[in-house]
Amino acid sequence: MGDYYEPWTYEYEHLLTAPAGEHTPVARPTSLLTGKDTKITWSANWDDSLAGGNELAAADPILAKVSGAVKLEYEKAFMFFLPRICEHCLNPSCAASCPSGAIYKRAEDGIVLVDQDRCRGWRMCVTGCPYKKIYFNHRTGKAEKCTFCFPRVEIGLPTVCSETCVGRLRYIGLLLYDADAVAQAAATRSETDLYAAQRSVFLDPHDPRVVAAARRTGIPEDWIEGAQRSPVWDLIMRYEVALPLHPEYRTMPMVWYIPPLSPVVDALRDTGHDGEDMGNLFGAVDALRIPVEYLAELFSAGDPAPVTAVLQRLAAMRAYQRRVNLGEERDESIAEAVGMTGQQMDAMYRLLAIAKYDERYVIPAAHAEIAHGLEELATECSLDYEGGPGMGGSGPFGEVSGRPVPLAVENFQVLAERQRSDNLPDPTTRGRVNLLNWDGRGRPEGLFPERKDKS
């Protein structure tokens, strides 16, 4: 517990109940664990704004790896935040380490979730996740983690963290991938090859063969289209500017990062150079204030090549767009130098700088009807034939619209309560429907007055 911090609250009640006196009453901090007075010495994100500050930086495992020269550089560095959420890995080690099988990856959208009913509090996932993204709720005795805001994602909304990000730096989109190839890719021998291996798992949604295969497996049209418009696909595969966080953990993380181009332009200008000239920029990439080696340890298992490539692309985009901005001629050679075309430069610039809400988040809503058809064939109600009691009328427990809920021990009470509640539409109260009992699907009889002419 000491490694984390002791949760605390303040004695707010004292503020209200303290008798009138000479001094202003204060709310003292109380530990939520022991209930005793406490002194706040440590907490989550304690030193974050100082990039870990003196206390944390000393323990940074990456700094231990990079050379002393880099270390010196790093100490001069400005801060940069690395916001982290659960990676919703393709090969989640949290799930693999769960003895109860309570952590699962959803087949439809890949979200990794903890089944709170199955979790038995083994706590293996807490140590199993290399990103430290599973939390043990010591009140309930169960593991908890980021849910990727699945209720929002299911209806096509971005996660709250993305939606509220002031810097508009989070992008969400679909990626089609070959689930059968994941294990093999994760087993790639060389750590520095893992970045390429993970990219090889993703399937090109523009490839007609992939589209055909997706259709065959029952992936709906709007999902395929969503995958084609996916900003994430563009950032990872087309422009190759996003990199996975710590690919060497082999969990195939799925939250990718665009490494920061630290304030290189200003730095160059201060030394009397043209900060936006491409040649100068390229040279400067190697001398960035956040050392490339450091970024490489974060994003490519220590191989500086991918990171340099990304930074050069970003720098090139800058140089290219400056000419556009100043009304000069577009310089294709800048784009070519980093293996892109001018058109791609423009598109990438658009996506990174001015993309609007619906371009940054391309999230088709989940389809309840396929999930039902695919997974729960057995629960399809046998009374659900034309004219039968399953046809929108009354199930065994009265007023039901849409598909009747199959009866089971677990929902017996709910259905029974529904039937016994007030205001059931019986013949004498035709035309009255208890909307509280209505589940929102279909049209229960009596919701609208009967038609006069029955045509």
Partner: protein, 247 residues
């Protein structure tokens, strides 16, 4: 009185145990956990917990051996009463000491370590009383019988009685002559089993057997009809100063 204690009570216990477990499994899966306190304190736990758990597993094995296997079987296998008694006492003492010391460490830790104590519910405390009581009574009965004389051969009385309960023909008369220590131990054990499904002890049934056969990564499909089931018990919100420790 005999019938009540040695025929009705055991069946009531079995019934509560089985039905209680089924009920808990159906309606309170969310509460099915050890509610581990390792997060608060692990140095003492690292010693106490394995001691108690391995000890108690040995004790369980010993009980199965002593209660379920009829005396005639071991004798047919050529093990004399004396030899049996010696091994039983020896193994039993080792296991018993481990268990009791382990439990002692755990209970002391529970009381003395602040955060662990505040995380202890009333249910836990009652459970500890019954559990520790059963263990101590058992130990006490055995030690007394062995100290006073040659030990008591429960395999003539208690064991056949317990088996007869499971044959559905309880022979209550077998229990009449049993020393009071053993009687109390049996009664405490019955209470423990009746209480079992309603405490954190249910975690004993959570062996990760499926882990051996399942794929590493579990894929699962979206729940199709949220709301069709009544939502079960869930987290009751973040703790505040006033509701802390209230359960």
């Amino acid at each position: 009185m005999n019938i009540l204690l040695w025929a009705i009570l055991p069946y009531a216990t079995v019934l509560t145990f089985v039905l209680g477990t089924v009920w808990r499994y159906r309606y309170d899966k969310f509460g099915w956990t050890t509610r581990s306190s390792q997060l608060y304190e692990s140095a003492v736990l690292r010693w106490g917990s394995p001691m108690f758990h391995f000890g108690v597993l040995l004790v369980l094995l010993g009980h199965i051996g002593g209660l379920a296997v009829p005396k005639s079987w071991t004798q047919a296998a050529g093990i004399s009463e004396h030899a049996y008694h010696l091994t039983a006492v020896f193994l039993g003492t080792v296991a018993g000491v481990f268990t009791v010391v382990g439990l002692g460490i755990l209970i002391a830790r529970r009381r003395l370590v602040g955060p662990v104590f505040t995380a202890t519910t009333r249910n836990d405390k009652a459970m500890y009383v019954v559990l520790a009581g059963t263990l101590l009574l058992g130990l006490f009965a055995t030690v007394r019988a062995n100290a006073l004389g040659d030990g008591y051969d429960y395999r003539e009385t208690v064991s056949p009685w317990l088996r007869s309960v499971f044959y559905l023909q309880p022979k209550t008369e077998l229990m009449t002559g049993v020393p009071i220590g053993f009687k109390l131990h049996v009664l405490a054990a019955l209470a423990l089993f009746a209480f079992w499904p309603f405490t954190r002890l249910v975690h004993a049934f959570s062996a990760p057997v499926g882990y051996l056969t399942r794929p590493y990564v579990v894929y699962r499909s979206r729940d199709t009809r949220p709301g069709a089931r009544r939502t079960g018990r869930g987290w009751d919100g973040p703790p505040t100063a006033s509701n802390r420790g209230r359960r």
